[in-house]
Amino acid sequence: MQFDQILQYALSGLSSGAIYALIGIGFSIIYNATGIINFAQGEFVMLGGMLTLFFLQLLKAPIWVAIPCAVAASTLGGILFERLAIRPLRQPTPINLVIITIGGSILIRGLAMLLWGKDTHAIPSFSGDEPIAIGGATILPQHIWILGVTLIIIAINKYYFYHTISGKAMRACAYNRRAAGLVGIDVRRMVLFSFIISSAMGAVAGIIVAPLTMVAYDVGVMLGLKGFCAAIIGGMSSGIATVVGGLILGVLESLGAGLISSGYKDAIAFIILLLLLFFRPQGLFGKAESERV
């Protein structure tokens, strides 16, 4: 096996890893604020890509107009989801929450199929398709867009969570929801915020990956699950651990697909997921915590 080839797999793994990281952070933000694993997270990724396509075709808008519109529309979807499905739930047991977010995810996927059909669509790259050579391997400009946008979003996230009042309030909710409520934080509003942030982040992830992988109504399932895997590797952190988790997953998957078998590419993520859940449910970097009853 040549070094060039391995470098090539690693580089393309990093860009899909960045996408998993963004989706994974979306999972973590909602989980930390609410204790819910949002099974519909992947659908917002799909919505990002599909809505961009929709605005491109419907408004004949340039891509720089279509993207913010798509992010805004997906975020609206996230708000509606929280308001209509999560908040009115009478018995919010974990199983009911799993079932309702799965129901929501199927519904969103089905509506997307109804509106836009089952075809796979291409989205133009942001800045051409001229390959760039890096030490024997080549990458596309879109790969650089993906890594760059991911970095920017992570930086914004960091700023939000550590340097703004509402970000700090959200962290307080993550530590202890009851205590946060006692010091006057509106916990329900923070729940809504968490859905807004993660649906927007999911949509962005879906948009920047779309020119490479194409979009269809059902791309959200796999992307969502792999994002969750990234979050598990990172111990459900909404920071750097999940980013590292996503990158590890992306690179392992890409190397596995290249060196072992491309048919089992998707299985790799799930085997990692199961092994981690069995042996290190606190994440790769976390310390074991005792469970509160």
Partner: protein
């Protein structure tokens, strides 16, 4: 218990005379699927409704049963009656072994882990082309036969599948009313409390997981022998969700509810022919509506609704 047996007898009689109403015909084929889906949703309900442990990977166990039976009989020429229990035993043991690490997880984590397990099984069906035929499927699976009778028509298969389904119902009713059933419900309400009063919660959860997988595998074998053709598409994530929908609609922790959910969800697409591709939207909407407005499922929700309507009517009469 006597009342319970009487109810079961009436139900079994109803099932047995059903074919007379249809005299063969296309609907018979659909009713065979109702039988298979009843077995599957009861299997999932034992785990989800009684023990309170979710699984989003049951289509995988169903598929394992189907492929074990299919490959052993179609490729290697085994007797189907040997292959079927062997498949069930192997799948049961597999579930038992994987049950220990997987059922340590709770709630959302358990859901994700079982989902991942289901998808891994699905990928294996697709990729082991030499064994399973891959995405294009496995054909030439023989029908079951006893003595001189081969189960090769819809009516014969109906009675075959429903004998198994009725046996599953009887077994599950017994289980639910036994010491084990009570222990399961205790684990459901509070695992810690159950452990404190001496229930080995961990072992019990693993055991019920194995029983549930074993029943799903049996349903899979029956599916393979009645259809004579199987492909991975029938055993994917969507089918796991469909099973979940059946259990939730019928009612968690109700055996007859599982039948009701299976019957509704199997018959519904037949009446919605035009909306063929879109039945998945209906599942999604049903799941959400049920959890929000009727968390007890139809079995408990409808009597409750009826009482409420009655009350409202009385209220307006007094006014």
């Amino acid at each position: 218990m006597k009342k319970e047996l009487f109810k079961f007898g009436a139900f079994a009689l109803f099932i047995m005379i059903m074919p007379l109403a249809f005299k063969g015909g296309y609907l018979m084929n659909v009713l065979i699927f109702v039988g298979i889906n009843t077995m599957l949703s009861i299997a999932l309900n034992l785990l989800l409704g009684y023990a309170g442990q979710i699984s989003l990977g049951h289509a995988g166990f169903f598929g394992l049963g189907a492929y074990f039976s299919g490959v052993l009989t179609a490729t290697y020429g085994w007797n189907a009656w040997v292959a079927m229990p062997l498949a069930a035993a192997v799948v049961g043991i597999m579930a038992y072994l994987i049950g220990f690490p997987i059922l340590k997880l709770k709630g959302h984590y358990l859901a994700m882990a079982t989902l991942g397990l289901g998808i891994i099984i699905y990928i294996v069906f697709n990729e082991t082309v030499d064994l399973t035929g891959g995405p294009s499927g496995l054909s030439g699976i023989p029908n079951l036969a006893i003595g001189g009778i081969t189960f090769d028509s819809d009516v014969k298969n109906y009675y075959l599948v429903w004998s198994f389904a009725l046996a599953t119902i009887l077994f599950s009713l017994n289980l639910a009313n036994s010491r084990i059933g009570r222990a399961l419900r205790a684990v459901h309400d509070s695992e810690v409390a159950a452990r404190v009063v001496g229930v080995n919660a961990r072992l019990l959860k693993v055991q019920i997981f194995a029983v549930s997988a074993l029943l799903s595998s049996l349903a899979g074998s029956l599916y393979a022998h009645t259809m004579t053709f199987i492909s991975p598409a029938s055993f994917g994530f969507n089918f796991s969700i469909e099973l979940l929908t059946m259990v939730v609609i019928g009612g968690l922790g109700s055996i007859y509810g599982s039948f009701l959910g299976a019957a509704l969800l199997t018959l519904l697409p037949e009446f919605l022919r035009a909306a063929h591709d879109y039945d998945i939207i209906i599942y999604g909407a049903l799941l959400m509506v049920m959890v929000m407005f009727m968390p007890g499922g139809l079995v408990r929700g409808i009597p409750e609704l009826y009482r409420k309507l009655l009350k409202m009517k009385r209220g307006s009469d007094h006014a």
